[in-house]
Subunit: 156 residues, 2 copies
């Protein structure tokens, strides 16, 4: 994946967290994923397709997932229940939608968000895709975004 | 999700397993997902978008993943390594592609397959989507397919 493609996703994540959650985020250094260890406990995942195909993963520590959901739902969330899953899915969808708007050249469409839970889950990409991982810190705790996007000759 | 939409996915899975893996599969009763327990240890996941949005999950027991990959790779796979992950991703992609061809009315496009590992992972859908789960048995062990697909008014 070309490194410049990550920027629209970073911008979109920053926008979502600042405008909707009023939560400032601080980005760590980009890195190619090495190894396949779990990122964090709750991961939103959404597929992209068009003139490129790919996946956005938004992986949140438990604390970030609960606080983000509490803010979005305007009620305190204390466990990873359906409401929190929906909130994390919606957040993932917003990040993908914001990036899609900045990547017009790929005419992307976005699938349904799923949320993966389990403290030891790993999300792996095809070996010919090199996803870029971006760690973030927030006042609520750590999180990370991972994006794998590969151009296709013919839209799928 | 309307129950008839599951049939193209079942047909496609049967085709993939019989033609590519020479592995007969036997389908159990359809059920709506209740609870969010893990299905099996290795899950391929791929997003769909167009006039409907959704996700296909192909969740394989460890034995099915290893045997399917061994057959596809023509070498014995004994651990869940990158080759097995790629094989499971490709299998998931084939199931989705075969179903897409039978669901022309939705003009679906398919994203990149990801593979989730970890014996206790759970893959959750938005609460307004009711995915259908189809258990299968094979000579290699159990597996399951889960599909959530929801029609959209305006293609995304």
């Amino acid at each position: 994946m070309r490194a410049e493609y990550i920027n629209p996703f970073i911008t979109s994540l920053n926008n979502a967290f600042s405008t909707m959650l009023n939560c400032p985020v601080s980005r760590g250094p980009l890195r190619l994923r090495s190894g396949n260890g779990a990122l964090h406990e709750v991961s939103g995942i959404i597929g992209l397709s068009g003139r490129a195909v790919g996946t956005v993963v938004l992986s949140l520590s438990r604390e970030v997932a609960l606080q983000a959901a509490s803010t979005m739902l305007m009620m305190e969330a204390t466990e990873i229940n359906d409401d929190v899953v929906d909130a994390v899915g919606e957040l993932t969808n917003m990040v993908a939608s914001g990036a899609k708007a900045q990547l017009e050249q790929f005419d992307l469409s976005i699938s349904l968000p799923n949320v993966i839970t389990g403290s030891h889950h790993e999300i792996r990409f095809p070996s010919n895709v090199s996803p870029i991982c971006v760690p973030f810190t927030t006042p609520w705790g750590p999180m990370a975004m991972e994006v794998g996007l590969t151009e296709v000759a013919v839209p799928v």
